[in-house]
């Protein structure tokens, strides 16, 4: 993803970002391997 797109996502309202986190969790549960690739490089977890 382009840095500008990432910056745009970072600027979204918190509630919208939380909705996206819920979508990512659902995706990770449905397609564990694909989701793992998609989020690699992200500081997920605590």
């Amino acid at each position: 993803m382009k840095p500008e797109m990432r910056q745009k996502l970072a600027r979204e309202p918190f509630a919208e970002k939380i909705r996206k986190v819920a979508q990512l969790i659902r995706l990770a549960k449905t397609f564990p391997r694909r989701a793992a690739r998609q989020i690699s490089g992200h500081p997920s977890g605590k």
Binding site: F14, A15, H42, G45
Partner: protein
């Protein structure tokens, strides 16, 4: 919807409401959202599986009042799963704050989340806490916050200096 019914969305408003109730019930002095979800307040969303609520305890004993918090929330329908309390199936960890984390709670940003008043760690404190922990994912978090969050560099330098911390080489 009952508090123990699983939800497709993250029940963050329920978490914040419950934390406010713990203050009202006199079980904790103050609280704020920390960890990955606090970082997401400032950066692009990423996958995380729980919420970290840091609290300043009124009980200065060894347990920091965690058993009382746990039984209060269970009486509200929350469930227990190892070190987490679950609301609508979503794990929440209540962590007693001391030192840098306590400062982060006291100086956290006040927000309104779906009509519920809440507090979120300042980005500068998230960076400082990540620097103090120092795992690979903490380094990645620092990098992401430096890139995407509008950090107050003077404030950050001050926090790092007072807690004798240094940013890792990125």
């Amino acid at each position: 919807m009952a508090i123990n019914e699983p939800s497709d969305s993250l029940p963050l408003a329920d978490v914040f409401r419950a934390a406010n109730e713990l203050v009202a019930a006199g079980l904790i002095e103050d609280w704020a959202l920390g960890g990955a979800l606090a970082a997401i307040y400032y950066v692009e969303p990423f996958t995380t599986y729980d919420a970290d609520i840091f609290f300043i305890s009124k009980d200065k004993g060894l347990t920091a009042g965690v058993p009382a918090i746990s039984s209060h929330l269970q009486s509200q329908g929350w469930q227990v799963e190892r070190e987490h309390l679950l609301v609508r199936g979503f794990p929440v960890q209540f962590l007693a704050a001391g030192g840098l984390a306590e400062e982060a709670v006291r100086e956290a940003e006040r927000i309104d989340y779906e009509g519920v008043p809440a507090k979120v760690f300042r980005a500068e404190h998230i960076v400082a806490i990540a620097a103090s922990v120092g795992r690979a994912k903490d380094k990645a978090r620092i990098e992401q916050l430096l890139r995407q969050a509008d950090l107050d560099k003077t404030y950050l330098e001050n926090v790092l200096q007072r807690h004798k911390l240094k940013l890792p080489k990125i």
